[in-house]
């Protein structure tokens, strides 16, 4: 498994760059991961989504479905892709430190 270096700390990620240990997630990790997902700077709107995802996962141990994610943040899907060009699953969930979404491809 590869590692990323955030402020001198080595964090394990999988091949797709998803954080392996959700406990290690913090704002700096989010900033680092954002750069790997074409988000140069995390704005307030980004943080709103990232924190929402992180909290949702903490509470329910799952990622929200896309419809819920849009509704709860008052965004349509187009807006989500504007903020996270690689999409809610690959982009936003990764930045929020969630495990890799699975399911049928």
């Amino acid at each position: 498994m590869p590692f990323i270096d955030v402020n001198g700390e080595q964090l394990e990620v999988d091949e797709d760059g998803f954080l392996q240990d959700p406990e290690k997630w913090n704002e700096d990790v989010a900033k680092y991961l954002a750069k790997t997902e074409q988000v140069e700077e995390l704005t307030e709107e980004h943080w709103k989504m990232v924190n929402y995802l992180h909290d949702y996962f903490k509470k329910y141990q799952i990622a929200p479905m896309v419809r819920k994610l849009c509704k709860d943040n008052g965004m349509d899907l187009k807006k989500v892709y504007e903020l996270f060009p690689t999409g809610p699953a690959k982009g936003a969930c990764k930045i929020a430190g969630l495990p890799k979404p699975t399911g049928c491809v």
Binding site: Q20, P22, A63, P99, T102, G103
Partner: protein
């Protein structure tokens, strides 16, 4: 800005003038031989189709040779079928035989038209899939080699659709095919607790189990599986990489028969279990191959002209099917999943 959401190439740009001219104006077609069709338009124009099965897994250089042949004989036009066969579309009848000769020279034989086995629909298997219980391409190759005479010669009572899916996700219409091979597991998956805790969405893993065999194990932030309830579908593994289900000693193939999608004569039917398990025997899966050959031979000999596999079984009855095929009937053949009761017989009218 990257160009997005423009959709596939327009199909009319991929069609010959003859096809465009006669679009929606076809009058009838005839089967000329097991590899050739002719479609006749209202205005009398004819389009000849030469069909040839491909192995689905195709290198670009082979596709380029197909392109060369289409340029040489078809003004640059061909199509594929939904079953991985290529169809060359010819306007000039005199090009049919030279095209067939060129196809033979590259190891491709026209066939699969009419009362034959068309190509075998299949999936990725060990070549590129992460959940397979069996390989796909290897079994297809071995089976098609064995039943090739049924592909090139019209000696079946009706068409026969063969298919293979390498796991219970059943990509491909194995559940509605005349003869179908499905990859199955036979032992419950193993739970790697530490990894589950890190990698998986536990409520989704629990919900993924159709028999409610999985429950959360909060102390370990993992799950436990009740082995008694597990029927090895692998749906939990699809949701969670930390619950591997593979077991080379136990994975293998089941064979189903009698399904179809067409409504002609009898409405579409699901395929039904004929053989619950045959172990993986790479590289040529001799037992699977022998069994499929036998299943087709028996049908070819016993069915009436025009009867699809399932229609034949409906006529002779399942007790006769197991008798004429010599296959053992076991407790595995009696449904105990969700909709089992309507499959039980409530009559004293049998054949012996």
């Amino acid at each position: 800005m990257v160009k997005t959401d423009f959709g596939p190439p327009k199909y009319l740009d991929m069609m010959s003038d003859l096809c465009k001219r006669n679009y929606g104006k076809w009058k009838y077609h005839e089967v000329l031989d097991t590899g050739t069709l002719v479609h006749v338009a209202e205005n009398g124009e004819k389009l000849y189709t030469v069909r040839s099965a491909t192995p689905r897994l195709i290198h670009i250089d082979t596709l380029r040779v197909f392109c060369d042949l289409a340029d040489k004989y078809c003004n640059g036009f061909f199509r594929f079928t939904s079953r991985h066969s290529i169809e060359f579309l010819l306007e000039d009848e005199s090009n049919i035989e030279p095209l067939k000769a060129d196809l033979h020279a590259m190891g491709y034989s026209p066939g699969g038209v009419g009362n034959t086995i068309s190509n075998m629909l299949h999936t990725q298997g060990w070549i590129h899939c992460h959940t397979p219980a069996i390989d796909a391409s290897g079994i297809v190759k071995a089976v098609m080699d064995e039943v090739f005479d049924y592909y090139t010669e019209a000696k079946l009572p009706a068409r026969l659709r063969l298919s293979l899916a390498c796991c219970l996700n059943m990509c491909g219409a194995v559940h509605c095919s005349d003869v179908a091979i499905v990859g199955i597991h036979r032992v419950p998956p193993k739970v790697l607790d530490e990894k589950v805790a890190k990698m998986c969405e536990i409520p989704n893993v629990v919900a993924a189990c159709p028999t409610r065999a999985i429950r959360p194990e909060p102390a370990k932030k993992s799950v436990v599986i009740n082995d008694e309830k597990c029927m090895y579908c692998g749906n939990c593994y699809t949701m969670c990489p930390a619950i591997p289900i593979f077991d080379p000693k136990n994975d293998g193939a089941a064979i189903f028969v009698g399904g179809k999608v067409s409504d002609a004569r009898h409405p579409a039917m699901f395929s039904k279990l004929a053989v619950p398990y045959i172990p993986n025997e790479p590289p040529k899966w001799p037992t699977v191959v022998k069994t499929v050959r036998m299943l087709i031979d028996v049908y070819a000999k016993d069915a009436k002209q025009g009867e699809r596999y399932g229609e034949w079984i409906n006529r002779i009855g399942w007790e006769r099917f197991f008798k004429v095929t010599g296959l053992p009937f076991t407790d595995k053949h009696i449904d105990d999943y969700i909709f089992s009761v309507p499959t039980f017989r409530s009559t004293a009218t049998f054949k012996w």
